[in-house]
């Protein structure tokens, strides 16, 4: 019955104005991509691509963005849960603080990270003295910089889902003898799975494209901190053709992940969280 209603809704004729505006939006996104494809040096593409530097940057990018996505999950989901579920004074201030890096110019974020975690930074000096940990200009530093700008995307997505979900399902789990941790793992997380996937993809995409914070905090050393976006940015001056090829590769990878995940996960998003 429900699916009948939905299919009728989707077959209803959409308003023309909306369609036209939507088409303009699609064109707006598609045109720059076409521009790249148009200017790409297709005959030499393979050579640019198989250059050591390019492959190294690509590998580093995938590696770092994967780790920063993991870090975003490990710390971001508990943060989202706390913001959504624990009523405390200054909740709003904490949320603003934790999502500030979304609006901050990434370069500023990188500089701020440097002052905090750099070798002479607020905390960085102790990290160095006590543990011998130096983050700036290391691969770990890239992950830190990427996580700094990427995690908020996961946090706000997951927090919204936690606020929207029917908390009585958690009550039901508690009455069945589930501890709050067991309930969180077996009931809460599965219930917000679409948001976890969406937030994870957003965070990963943001990490993959991260440029400003990385270059200011971690620098631009091929093999250790030069990620794809940095390689593209720098090649634009020295070798624009190579830059275009690298950019297209990045776009292709992101595109494949976004499309793949969409079909696999977002198709289920309309599924009701509760059985009636």
């Amino acid at each position: 019955m429900i699916s009948g209603v939905m299919s009728r809704r989707t077959t209803a004729r959409p308003p023309v104005v909306v369609l036209v505006l939507a088409a303009i939006a699609v064109t707006f996104f598609a045109l720059p991509l076409l521009g790249l494809v148009w200017r790409a040096p297709w005959s030499n593409a393979w050579e640019y691509l198989t250059e050591d530097d390019a492959l190294t940057a690509l590998r580093l990018s995938l590696w770092c963005s994967a780790w920063s996505t993991v870090a975003s999950f490990v710390f971001g989901v508990p943060l989202a849960w706390t913001l959504a579920r624990v009523p405390f004074r200054g909740n709003g201030v904490v949320r603003a603080l934790c999502t500030l890096s979304m609006v901050l110019p990434p370069v500023v974020g990188g500089v701020a990270l440097f002052f905090a975690l750099g070798r002479r930074g607020l905390v960085g000096q102790w990290l160095d003295d006590w543990f011998g940990i130096r983050l700036p200009f290391t691969t770990a530093g890239v992950v830190v910089a990427q996580t700094f700008v990427a995690m908020p995307f996961l946090v706000i997505t997951v927090e919204a889902a936690l606020r929207q979900m029917d908390r009585r399902v958690e009550d039901a789990a508690r009455t069945l003898g589930a501890s709050s941790w067991y309930t969180f793992r077996r009931v809460t997380l599965p219930a917000i799975r679409p948001a976890l996937v969406a937030g994870g993809v957003l965070a990963w995409a943001r990490a993959l494209g991260e440029c400003g914070a990385t270059i200011t905090f971690a620098g631009n050393f091929p093999g250790t901190t030069q990620t794809m976006p940095l390689a593209v940015y720098l090649s634009l001056e020295t070798n624009p053709e190579a830059a275009i090829v690298l950019a297209l590769v990045m776009i292709a990878i992101s595109f494949a992940v976004l499309v793949g995940l969409r079909d696999r996960w977002f198709g289920r998003q309309s599924r009701p969280e509760l059985s009636a």
Partner: protein
């Protein structure tokens, strides 16, 4: 061996103070209008709503007693709950739903699945074990919710409006099923409902909760025979008159007089059954032994062979007359009528 709950909870505009006792093997229905605090009382017993004062005790074990600092969290209480819209876990199969409580209690996977399947067989749903809850009908989902709650072997089973989420067509059948399955559970059962039909079908005893207070308890027959509030009177379908008895006459606040057979003086309730009332246009003859009140018809409901008249006056009443009488008198809303009742038809009991 009882559930004893002396519940005091303030929640927004709700001020709940209710004392409940459920004996072993008994099913108590907590009956009341929406917003009376029924679900809050149930949540307090389950541990989902901490008490502000009072005590919740099952057998000899205190589960919640703020003044002693005792609070047993819901997951450690011997209490199973069937929720209003079942609240099955959509991401798990039916079998995993029923096994959930056992798994949460560290029962091995194989053992939990085995016992869950037994429960599904008991409620006749073994063939749906590997379906998702979304594939179940409302009645099936409720049986799964019941099996899930009973699989953890609770001492107390709580049911929150178990039939409210079902459509009218299936409700009667599901109610019969539920009655049968509840009968097989020997522990204490507390049912929250706003529907007296559920209470009739399922409960041994009812407690009427209105605006956070228990106004009446007893078997449904006892409660129906001597309603003590407008709500219960409306549920049962009788007129309830409150007033003060002096010399065989009950005086209401609005200045109406009701002559009664005999009753001790003092604040009292009087029940006037709608079908015991006679309605006429003119003042009836031979009024000596009868009560006659004047009023204006406010509404007329035709119910099969009979009609219910709402009559407003010094003593607002609902009268029930035959359709033949209604047609003979050609009554319409707005008409002025006389309503008569024999003193001996009016039951009076102390307030």
């Amino acid at each position: 061996m009882t559930l004893h709950a002396d519940i005091a909870v303030q929640l927004g505009t709700l001020d709940l103070r209710a004392e409940l006792h459920v004996a072993d093997g008994e099913l108590l229905a907590l009956l009341g209008p929406n917003g009376a605090g029924k679900s809050t009382a149930l949540r307090a017993v389950a541990g989902l709503q901490p008490l502000h004062d009072g005590v919740v005790q099952v057998d000899d074990r205190v589960l919640d007693q703020p003044c002693a600092g005792t609070f047993v969290p819901p997951e450690q209480r011997p209490v199973g709950v069937v929720f209003q819209d079942h609240l099955l876990f959509a991401n798990m199969t039916v079998l995993e739903n029923v096994a959930f409580g056992l798994r949460a209690r560290k029962v091995s996977r194989a053992d939990a699945r085995h016992r869950a399947l037994e429960w599904l067989e008991r409620v006749g749903l073994a063939d749906t074990a590997h379906d998702r809850p979304a594939a179940l009908s409302g009645g099936q989902a409720q049986r799964v919710a019941l099996a899930r709650a009973l699989a953890i072997d609770p001492r107390v089973l709580l049911l929150d409006e178990p039939l409210a989420a079902l459509d009218v067509g299936t409700r009667a059948m599901v109610r019969r099923d539920l009655r049968r399955h509840l009968a097989s559970f020997a522990g204490m059962r507390l049912l929250v409902t706003h529907d007296p039909v559920d209470a009739y079908a399922l409960a041994d005893r009812v407690a009427i909760l209105e605006q956070g207070r228990i106004v009446q308890t007893g078997t449904l027959a006892e409660v129906a025979a001597h309603p003590r509030s407008r709500y219960v009177a409306d549920l049962v379908g009788v007129n309830l008159v409150t007033g003060n008895v002096v010399d065989g006459v009950l005086h209401t606040d609005r200045g109406a007089h009701v002559v009664i057979a005999d009753a001790p003086a003092g604040p009292s309730f009087a029940v006037i059954r709608p079908h015991s009332l006679a309605v006429t246009r003119d003042l009836p003859a031979g009024v000596s032994s009868r009560n006659v009140w004047r009023g204006v018809i406010t509404d007329i409901d035709r119910l099969g062979e009979r009609a219910r008249l709402g009559i407003d006056g010094a003593l607002p009443l609902t009268a029930e007359i035959t359709l033949a009488a209604l047609d003979a008198l050609a009554l319409r809303p707005g008409d002025e009528v006389h309503v008569a009742a024999k003193a001996t038809d009016i039951e009076v009991y102390p307030a």
